[in-house]
């Protein structure tokens, strides 16, 4: 059985020898043309003229396309609201695509794209959240409000505050890319996308074609993190449009600066809170106001903001919780999916409130958190009863592993003795809901083919972006047939093999596609078992598939021989499989129901040190206990946990998006936008898979792992807050990201110096 084994990533050999093939590495047919976008320099304005003569006259330019050249709809939106590929009358952010250059080389296209003379009459640009609120610039017509019960603050101590948490650039190392290959009556599009079916829909819609004429294929992606869920649509449609109009293969690969200026990012959020505390410091009533920067297009903001509301109480029981969610339209890049999909923003709010309560009341922060945890059988604020509540036990394990109490005491002594370097330590839990909150997306398909030599080639609806999905899927298929995982080959995701797929997102790639693959394997197994049961005179249930053999009682034959025998008996060795998550029931209008199939829990303890003269900080140690259920592959799961923590650390510490007053993104390259480097790693990053879990109600009782660990890094922000609080008696009110500037401001506040 290969499930449960720490087998290497399917591309382990390829990655270290440079032979892993991504889209940009595929051989292009002779005559392939290359694309570049002409972009708006203005954040908001009306297009009054577009003189593209110089672009057309530039060397090696074959065509220059504008919105008028699109035969179908000029729309790359993942939702019913239109989002133009190429601007028409108005531009809505600096970086918006205006025209598309088709040239004989990548450089020729990029050089020519700079030559456009576009006249734009500027209109007032909404760049900040305050400007958006003042202008009433909302998506969905106004704020969305959910509440578990109306918060009644009578007789309670009131605590109010605000946390601002910046957005985040995905910085997938492989930028957006697509290659469109026209054929006699259709189009094949190679796309670096998490959502091949949506690319298929958008290409067909732009060309005015039925879906069956468009085929989308996805090989290996060089990272995605949510940034290629909807954001891959534009480049893919551009390539297909140019290929359709020129009749030649067309390829686009965004330059890094263009990618950062054009594509979506994590939603920045501001959370205003009003908490009502009883005499013990327990939160009895809580009013939260979420304000999210959604950027210029609706994109995935509604479900992201919904998930921020769903995780607004994290793992805690807040008896009366009201959440008012403002989805604000701004003249900046779209805000889109990013690992956690709003969950991290929601959790930051409640963790900040609890930190503030601990500071106000003097209660030990972890004890305060424990006192608020939901128990099994209790309902979340949206009414989902918990089948399990593993966090108390996970926190016990973490406290012991991290030696929390002793280190808290040691840090208190250190801080008493050291005036310059202040330390902080904090623990935070994560309870993340697994399922798409748009219930009908919780489905997946697969196609499994067994060949007469006993090897298997399969395709499923998920996409491989580095998370190790294909390795886990191969382990599931190998286990089903009792063969070695090396005998299973996963072929590129292909809308012609598995149709109508959901995005590989919401941490659900393995749960959904793994179950679909298992279903397909089971159908083929049943056919083989029926054949051999008749031959061997036993019941089909007695037939076992293990160790490369099919056996029953004293009978046995190699799996390959069974496959060949089935072929000779004219029994199909190919099957599709399908899976739909059961038991979901969610009403987003009322904010009530059971949106999640199950939850993933974990907790982290992070220790930091802060230099209060410079604002520089380091993470000294991070200990993590995380529930991966019956892990399909502990090595891959640990990698996701480590990587998720590191990415979350970047979000809350060093990654800062800066727009100037005119709406220009000033951080559009790694020279100005800093993601964590190896030098930012803690000396200790200790990850333990929690052994106490009963497993999830999912394939082989494994738990989803992609997103939940990202939120473990909230403990790092809380530890930095703790270090700032050691500088003085006042509430430091540390904001995020905790850059040196933000840390120095918090130190000043702790000392009662205001925002000095």
């Amino acid at each position: 059985m290969s499930i449960g084994k720490p087998l290497p990533h399917d591309a382990a050999q390829l990655s270290v020898t440079g032979r892993a093939r991504y889209l940009d590495d595929l051989p292009c047919p002779a005559g392939t043309l290359h694309l570049a976008f002409g972009l708006s320099d203005v954040a908001h304005g009306r297009i009054t003229g577009m003189d593209l003569a110089a672009v057309r006259a530039a060397p090696d330019v074959v065509a220059v396309l504008t919105a008028a050249d699109i035969p179908g709809h000029n729309d790359v939106s993942p939702n019913p609201l239109p989002e133009p590929l190429l601007a028409e009358a108005e531009v809505h952010f600096a970086g918006q695509a205006l025209f598309l250059v088709v040239a004989r080389s990548h450089m020729a296209a990029r050089r020519a794209a700079r030559l456009g003379r576009v006249e734009i009459t500027p209109l007032p640009a909404i760049v900040t959240l305050d400007q958006a609120l003042a202008a009433g610039s909302h998506f969905e017509g106004g704020p969305i409000v959910w509440q578990s019960a109306p918060p009644d603050f009578t007789g309670l101590e009131i605590l109010e505050g605000r946390i601002e948490v910046g957005g985040q650039e995905h910085f997938y190392l492989e930028g957006q890319a697509a290659l469109a290959l026209p054929d006699e009556d259709g189009m094949t599009v190679q796309s670096s996308t998490q959502h091949p079916t949506e690319v298929q829909h958008k290409v067909a819609d732009a060309l005015g074609w039925p879906l069956a004429r468009v085929r989308v294929e996805v090989g290996r992606m060089g990272g995605a993190f949510g940034g290629k869920e909807s954001q891959a649509n534009g480049p893919a449609v551009a390539a297909a449009l140019a290929a359709h109009l020129t009749g030649r293969p067309c390829k686009i690969r965004l330059d890094r600066d263009d990618d950062m200026r054009m594509t979506g990012k994590r939603h920045e959020i501001r959370i205003d809170y009003r908490a009502g505390l009883d005499a013990s410091g327990r939160i009895r009533a809580l009013d939260l106001r979420h304000m999210l920067r959604c950027g210029w297009s609706a994109d995935l903001s509604a479900p992201v903001a919904d998930r921020a509301m769903l995780h607004a109480a994290n793992a805690y029981d807040i008896p009366a919780l009201r959440i008012e969610s403002h989805r604000l339209r701004t003249n900046t890049q779209s805000a889109t999916a990013f690992r956690g999909f709003g969950g991290p923003q929601g959790m930051m709010g409640i963790e900040r409130v609890l930190a503030h309560v601990a500071h106000r009341t003097g209660r030990e922060p972890l004890a305060l958190r424990r006192a608020h945890l939901l128990a099994a059988g209790q309902a979340t604020h949206y009414g989902q009863e918990l089948d399990e509540a593993p966090l108390p036990a996970i926190l016990d394990a973490l406290e012991a592993r991290a030696d929390y109490a002793a280190r808290r005491a040691a840090i208190a002594r250190w801080n008493a003795e050291n005036p310059i370097l202040k330390r902080g330590l904090a623990i935070s839990p994560v309870m993340f809901g697994i399922s798409f909150t748009l219930t009908h997306l919780n489905q997946a398909g697969a196609l499994v083919n067994v060949y007469t030599d006993g090897t298997v080639a399969l395709s499923h609806g998920g996409t491989e972006m580095g998370q190790g999905l294909n390795r886990k899927i191969a382990q599931i298929a190998a286990t089903a047939f009792g063969i070695a995982p090396e005998a299973v080959r996963i072929t590129p995701t292909d809308t012609a093999k598995v149709p109508n797929t959901s995005a590989t997102a919401a941490s659900s790639g393995t749960d959904l596609n793994g179950a679909a693959v298992a279903a397909a394997c089971a159908r083929i197994r049943a056919r083989l078992a029926a054949m051999l049961a008749a031959k061997w005179g036993c019941a089909p249930e007695e037939i076992a598939f293990e160790d490369g053999k099919v056996r029953a009682d004293t009978h046995a034959m190699p799996f390959a021989a069974a496959a060949k025998a089935a072929w000779e008996a004219r029994i199909s060795l190919s099957a599709t499989g399908f899976h739909a998550t059961p038991g979901l029931d969610w009403n987003r209008k009322t904010g009530r129901g059971r949106p999640f199939h199950y939850f993933v829990c974990g907790a982290a303890a992070t220790e930091v040190v802060l230099d209060i003269l410079t604002g520089e900080a380091r993470v000294l140690a991070a200990h993590i206990v995380h529930d991966a259920g019956a892990s399909l592959n502990p090595a891959l799961d640990r990698g996701q946990i480590e990587g998720g923590y590191v990415q979350g650390l970047g979000w809350l510490t060093c990654e800062e998006l800066v727009w100037d007053a005119a709406g220009q993104l000033r951080t559009h390259s790694p020279s100005t936008y800093k993601i964590p480097a190896v030098s930012d790693m803690p000396g200790v990053l200790d990850v333990a898979l929690w052994p106490g879990g009963a497993g999830a109600p999912a394939i082989h009782r494994a738990r989803a792992v992609g997103e939940p660990p990202f939120m473990l890094a909230i403990s790092a922000h809380l530890a930095l807050l703790d270090a700032c609080a050691a500088c003085g008696p006042h509430w430091p009110d540390l904001q995020a990201p905790a850059t040196p500037e933000a840390l120095l401001a918090a130190v000043a506040r702790a000392r009662g110096e205001g925002d000095a």
Binding site: A11, E174, R220, D255, G643, S669, I675, S679
Partner: protein
Amino acid sequence: MAELRVNGTLHRIDAPGDMPLLWVLRDLLGLIGTKYGCGVAACGACTVLVGGVAVRSCQTPLEAVDGPVTTIEGLGQPGALHILQQEWIAHQVAQCGWCQSGQILQAASLLRQIPRPSDAEIDAAMAGNLCRCGTYPRIRAAIHAAAARLAAEGPAAGNADGGAP
């Protein structure tokens, strides 16, 4: 016409002198293991060795290449992997994989200069090689393991000179 020795083979390159080495390798020589990341030498994805020293090929013009070039394809072959590549697999470093050829070549350059680096020396040498999947703890571990083996087994097991004459 420039002469360029890559992975031990001498090539005659017909390209402008200001063409970045990255595109010479990828587009003219078909060596796709070297990756474009940012184009401004700030992410490390395009790292190759020139004369055994790590350089950012996206900001190295062809005319400035003054030694033999080693790309990931020349460091070790399937079946005869360099010790760094072996340890990279053993520690299961790569997730999406895009940055990994640059990481491995940067590590090769480091070990040539400092055979047994400390964590701090690894950080100093590797901080310009970004990994968005966050595989850094495993990168550190793999470098330490490779350094220990190279010290025990001798540099012949991990020669990264790229066939310098």
